[in-house]
Amino acid sequence: MKTKVIMPKLGESVVEGTVNRWLKKQGDAVSEFEPLLEVSTDKVDTEVPAPASGVVLAIYIAEGQTVEAGSLLAVIGEAGESLLHDDPPATTALIATNGTTPSKSPVTGHVTPVVARMVAEHNLDLSQIQGTGRGGRVTKHDVEAFLKSDKTAPAAELAPWEQPGEGSLFKPTVEYTDSIAAKSPVGAHSPTGVSFGHRAPLQPTTAPAQQRLHPVEPIPQAAPGELVSLTPMRKFIAEHMVRSVETSPHVTTVFEIDMSAVVAHREANKTEFAKLGVNLTLTAYFVAASVSALRANPYLNAEWRSDGIFLHHAAHIGMAVAIEGGLIVPVIKNAQDLNLMGTARTVNDLALRAREKRLKADETQGGTFTITNHGVSGSLFATPIINQPQAGILGIGVMEKRVKVINDAIAIRPCIYTSLSFDHRIADGATGDGFMLTLKQTLENWA
């Protein structure tokens, strides 16, 4: 049989009280009339005796909080008795003064691996989640449902008297003393003129009570944040990235490339290319140079399989394109067949159609190597994540003029840092660096 512990009305005009100290904590046994907590009001400080014998099942108001007379402070009952119905929602016990929350473990009392993992990942309190499994066990579906639901809303089934008191009188005393302090001049009550700051100044006790009887502006609650739901693209990217990092041990090697030969070649040829409807971009050079580097270092054009490393004969180069909401990687199929003109034309076409969402399904499949141009947003070098099931991904940084020492003289050259992340199961550092060296030599000697 449960008994409610109510904040008593300690005097004719007293409408509220403050919980000073709990003498018992949740789970403790208490006898009828034994002092349970100390409260203070405007008129008097006193102890409140327990209205019944039993165990303190739940404490709702913490020390220092002020509530209206008649508010629910705690519930006393038999050990193990649930608070509401047979399967209590965990939200009924809002505050525990000793820091522990009531155990909601099921009869079987255990947690399965996937539930343990999800609870750890999302930093949840298992006792907050209702279990629908056998014996009240919290199942994976229960955790998923909990993550979807609004955790801050109180349970709908709570009866009105089960909820702590509403309204202005429920607010802690200190907020009112702050507002009172704001109305009286700082330091008005100090003979030395020193400001008391937020300390409660001496006031007649009736005035605050009268003030509180009038409606007060509710203090707006800060919203901690907002939830942006996941688009399919975001989910896909997230899943792929996690899987990639879990699958391949990533190592990134960074090389700097002097792009002056390429820049010169581009200047000299871009008009000719434009006449044939092709915008000659630096990406085209990188794709072409990557093909040469892959031919010389075939283990970067490969795939880890359980029965061996599969070396692709053709080079299908994926090109990461940033689009609204994420990224997409169209593939330049058989890049080894294309000369610079063909490469540049394909790059133009795929990038355009990627941004206009007009790529065909198979145009994002079948890549054997990927290039990502993170330099367009200013990044110097990076550690890109491999596009599974490939062996490597080449990141291209921003091109900027740098001072270089050439033949013991200072020269100014347009330079790019390139970063190759590779799968260390398939290739070792020497192989990765071999690829980068071929890439560098190809680009620096472009004619």
Binding site: T112, P113, V114, V115, R117, G133, R134, R137, T139, K140
Partner: protein, 328 residues
């Protein structure tokens, strides 16, 4: 595209392979003039002649041994063991010779042999016409073990088995020979040995099965979907050795609950290995114990009909196991 039975699909595969490759031949008891006791080779003797469809003596050891020898001599034999229950005299040849020759010869000698046999019970066959023997052979590296559950897969997988340079054991669920029907293209297609097939996609629980049990599992999944709102995923393993570990783990990672179903005796049956793989490599994804539903540990399938039905795993038993694990 025609809808044909499992046995017709198997015959179609052999017919096409005999036509495609003159090195392919069939040998076994009653395969020739009689056309096979299940009619698996009906008409092939007339079509291809006695040197391509060869009636053997009643001697399984010799059927397989001849097959091994022929395979090592670059032919492509399909050896029929009339009932999987009779394969045991050939066990030595399969395990000691066929499985080990490639390894033992450091890759010089291949044994591109296919042994096909009807297996499984539920047809009133009693002790020697109902056995499941796949677990003996799935235990042996050097062999491949394939069990189709649909006519489409049976034709495609048998063709792959014939073309595979390794010794392949191809077990056919005899209870489904005429009971399972499906669409089978008349073209020359193969189904790769290795990958499993998702027979039914689901979110709540993964059911792993093969052969007749794959069918029963789909029936059970439909039953629990209708009656309990449980969305079960059924994975038809198809190839037992090498097993499609990735498909198994992907499914369990999604649903977090695994039920492995096999007709064979529970202890040391093939499903025990599937359960071990899940427990080992999908542990952090499990929301319940890995359960096996299988035949009882009894020396043989009973001949008495009621007892046979007690022994056999059926859709109702699978549904009950699905419900039980879902409620965990």
């Amino acid at each position: 595209m025609a809808t044909i039975t499992l046995i017709d699909a198997i015959r179609m595969a052999m017919d096409e392979e005999l036509a495609r490759d003159e090195r392919v031949f069939i040998t076994g008891e009653d395969v020739g003039k009689r056309g096979g006791v299940f009619r698996a080779t009906q008409g092939l003797y007339e079509k291809y002649g006695e040197s391509r469809v060869i009636d053997s003596p009643l001697a399984e050891l010799s059927i397989v041994a001849v097959g091994i020898g022929a395979a090592m001599a670059e032919l492509r034999p399909i050896c029929e063991i009339q009932f999987a229950d009779y394969i045991h005299p050939a066990f030595n040849q399969i395990v000691n010779e066929a499985a080990k020759t490639y390894y033992r010869s450091n890759g010089e000698w291949r044994v591109p042999l296919t042994i096909r046999a009807p297996y499984g019970g539920g047809i009133g066959g009693g002790l020697y016409h109902s056995q499941s023997v796949e677990s003996f052979f799935a235990h042996v590296p050097g062999l491949k073990v394939v069990i189709p559950s649909t006519p489409h897969d049976a034709k495609g997988l048998l063709k792959s088995a014939v073309r595979d340079p390794n010794p392949v054991l191809f077990f056919e669920p005899k209870k489904g020979y005429r009971a399972i029907k499906g669409e089978v293209p008349e073209t020359d297609y193969t189904v790769p040995i290795g990958p499993a097939r998702i027979a039914r996609e689901g979110q709540d629980i993964s059911v792993f099965a093969y052969g007749m049990m794959a069918h029963y599992a789909v029936m059970a999944a439909e039953k629990v979907a209708r009656e309990d709102g449980i969305d079960a995923e059924v994975v038809d393993l198809r190839t037992l050795l090498p097993v499609d570990k990735q498909a198994i783990l992907d499914s369990v990672k999604k649903t977090s609950k695994a039920l492995v179903v096999y007709e064979d005796n529970l202890t040391m049956g093939y499903g025990a290995e599937v359960a071990a793989i899940i427990a080992d490599e999908a542990f952090e994804f499990l929301d319940g114990p890995v359960k096996r539903l299988a035949g009882p540990d009894v020396p043989a399938m009973p001949f008495n009909h009621t007892m046979q039905e007690y022994f056999m795993v059926n859709p109702d038993k699978i549904a009950a196991a699905i419900r039980d694990l879902t409620a965990y």
